[in-house]
């Protein structure tokens, strides 16, 4: 992509990339094994994680990886995630963004408002996964809280499922935009760099800021 002659900018550090993939891959496996447990017709998905019992044992441990990665990610990126007036203007133009009418969308900083909302929504969903997941994992109680048999587990399962719908939809949008919809994006999470041209198109304000360095 450096064919543009404008060079590249580093978008994500090594640590950011590692944390992203810990969270991303664990979430993908959590989603697939979780779907497997949610309905008999999806049970075959357990082969992706070593079969029924293994998948069931791994699911909560992948949740631990997701949680630790999620906490690290939260503090790594928190600084950049405040929603400001420019983000609100961006959100008002979200229809044009979806229709690829870039000239009608306000220039974004390092993260656009959609990405910031993704961050905050996944934070909320992550909390929901942990709070509802622990009683299912340890129905006998944990750290003096519980036991959670019966009604509590049922209610938590419902919360877990609802949160999964939200997380699953976000994952679809996230992966779609990060791969085929916006070519040149995934490199940011692989080797950490994007082209100047890419940055101008998707994050013009950030590209300007980086250019002054």
């Amino acid at each position: 992509m450096s064919a543009s002659g404008l060079g590249e900018i580093r978008r994500f550090t090594f640590v950011e990339r590692v944390v992203h993939w810990v969270v991303g891959l664990s979430f993908l496996l959590l989603l697939l094994t979780g779907l497997a447990f949610s309905h008999p017709r999806l049970y075959w998905l357990t082969v992706l994680a070593g079969g029924g019992a293994t998948a069931r044992i791994l699911h909560p441990w992948m949740g631990v990886a997701f949680t630790l990665g999620g906490v690290a990610m939260f503090f790594l990126w928190l600084r950049d995630m405040a929603i400001d007036a420019e983000d609100r203007a961006w959100l008002r133009a979200i229809r044009h963004y979806a229709l690829h009418q870039k000239d009608k969308v306000p220039a974004a900083g390092k993260y656009n408002a959609g990405q910031k909302m993704f961050f905050w929504t996944m934070t909320a969903l992550g909390i929901a996964y942990v709070v509802s997941g622990v009683p299912m994992w340890m129905p006998g109680g944990v750290m003096g809280i519980g036991p959670f048999y019966g009604g509590v587990v049922n209610a938590m399962r419902l919360v877990h499922y609802l949160a999964t719908i939200g997380g699953g939809l976000f994952l679809i949008v996230h992966v779609y935009l990060g791969t085929v919809a916006y070519p040149g994006t995934i490199g940011a999470m692989l080797h950490g760099r994007v082209t100047r041209a890419w940055a101008k198109l998707h994050h013009a304000r950030w590209e300007t800021e980086e250019g002054s360095k």
């Binding site: 992509m1 064919a3 543009s4 404008l6 497997a36 447990f37 949610s38 309905h39 008999p40 017709r41 999806l42 049970y43 357990t46 029924g52 019992a53 998948a55 069931r56 044992i57 979806a98 229709l99 690829h100 870039k102 299912m136 340890m138 129905p139 006998g140 048999y149 019966g150 587990v153 049922n154 209610a155 399962r157 419902l158 499922y161 609802l162 999964t164 719908i165 699953g168 939809l169 679809i172 949008v173 779609y176 085929v180 919809a181 916006y182 070519p183 040149g184 082209t195 041209a197 890419w198 101008k200 198109l201």
Partner: protein, 289 residues
């Protein structure tokens, strides 16, 4: 492939299996237990017989102001006599419920279970858990309208009354029925037990218990443990749901959420695909700048 049970009984259906079990014998009597609560003297001999026959672990009893031996069912207590003191017509009455699996014809546990062959329903009406296939997810706990299955935190599997399936296979009655000193627990074909239950209900009504009923709830297709309930107008005091269904409560809600989720995720994928086909990729114009 799920491990099949070691017994020779004909299987009607198994959890998470869309094809019917390949049994050759598909006909045979359905058996049922009839618990006549009016005949129960609360001796708890059935509890002991259950523990003995099934070699279940001993758990200390606890005095919490009731005649009841334990507070709740557990992975090692498949049968618990629940005692409730109730006021009936100015007098104190003891409502006793033999709390154990009812072996529903439409078992909520089996319908909820995602693990192939972890819950097996036999042609004779018994619903049994096959721990070899259980993955410990506890969806059966959510699915049961009677709150019967109990999860063992150490083995991470779920347990409940198996109707002494090994005795039944050998032509014997379950241990609780065998030991009951007042014949409050009867064992026989479902047909015979329904007839016997109706006779008992008539007898109780003739004695002035006008609300006596046979508890064989149709919402779960009937059960293979039925009760003769002397005070049928106070089912809640016996801790018996008035109209249980296999899709009750959480299972029904979870079912709705599953459908919602499957639709939402499917539509999400579809929308992403259509968006790509409609608008294509958006790449920087390399030559523009």
């Amino acid at each position: 492939m799920p491990q099949l049970p070691a017994n020779g009984l004909a299987i009607r259906r198994m959890s998470a299996s869309s094809t019917p079990a390949a049994g050759i014998r598909t006909e045979g009597p359905e058996y049922a237990k009839l618990v006549d609560i009016s005949r129960c003297i609360g001796c708890k001999g059935c509890e002991v017989a259950c523990k003995e026959w099934n070699e279940l672990g001993i758990e200390p009893t606890e005095n919490f102001g009731s005649f009841q031996s334990h507070r709740d069912l557990s992975p090692d207590t498949w049968l618990l006599m629940r005692f409730t003191e109730v006021e009936v017509g100015g007098d104190v009455a003891w409502f006793i419920k033999k709390d154990a699996c009812l072996h529903c014809a439409e078992p909520g546990c089996l319908l909820a279970c995602p693990a192939p062959g972890a819950i097996v329903q036999y042609e004779n009406g018994i619903v049994d858990f096959n721990q070899a296939n259980c993955i410990g997810c506890q969806l059966c706990v959510s699915g049961c309208p009677f709150d019967i299955p109990r999860f063992n935190v150490e083995t991470r599997k779920v347990y409940k009354c198996n109707m002494c399936i090994d005795r039944v296979e050998a032509g014997l009655e379950p241990a609780c029925a065998k030991t009951c000193p007042t014949n409050a627990i009867s064992w026989g074909t479902k047909e015979d037990m329904v007839r016997l239950g109706e006779q008992q209900v008539e007898r109780l009504r003739a004695r002035g218990l006008a609300n006596a009923v046979l508890y064989d709830p149709p919402g779960v297709g009937g059960t293979h443990m039925m009760y003769v309930v002397p005070h049928g107008d106070q089912l809640d005091q016996y801790d018996l749901p008035a109209d249980p269904t296999a899709g009750a409560g959480a299972l029904a809600m979870l079912g709705t959420v599953r459908k919602l989720g499957a639709s939402a995720l499917g539509l999400g994928l579809l929308a992403a695909g259509l968006h790509y086909l409609g608008f294509g990729p958006q790449a920087p114009e390399e030559d523009a700048k």
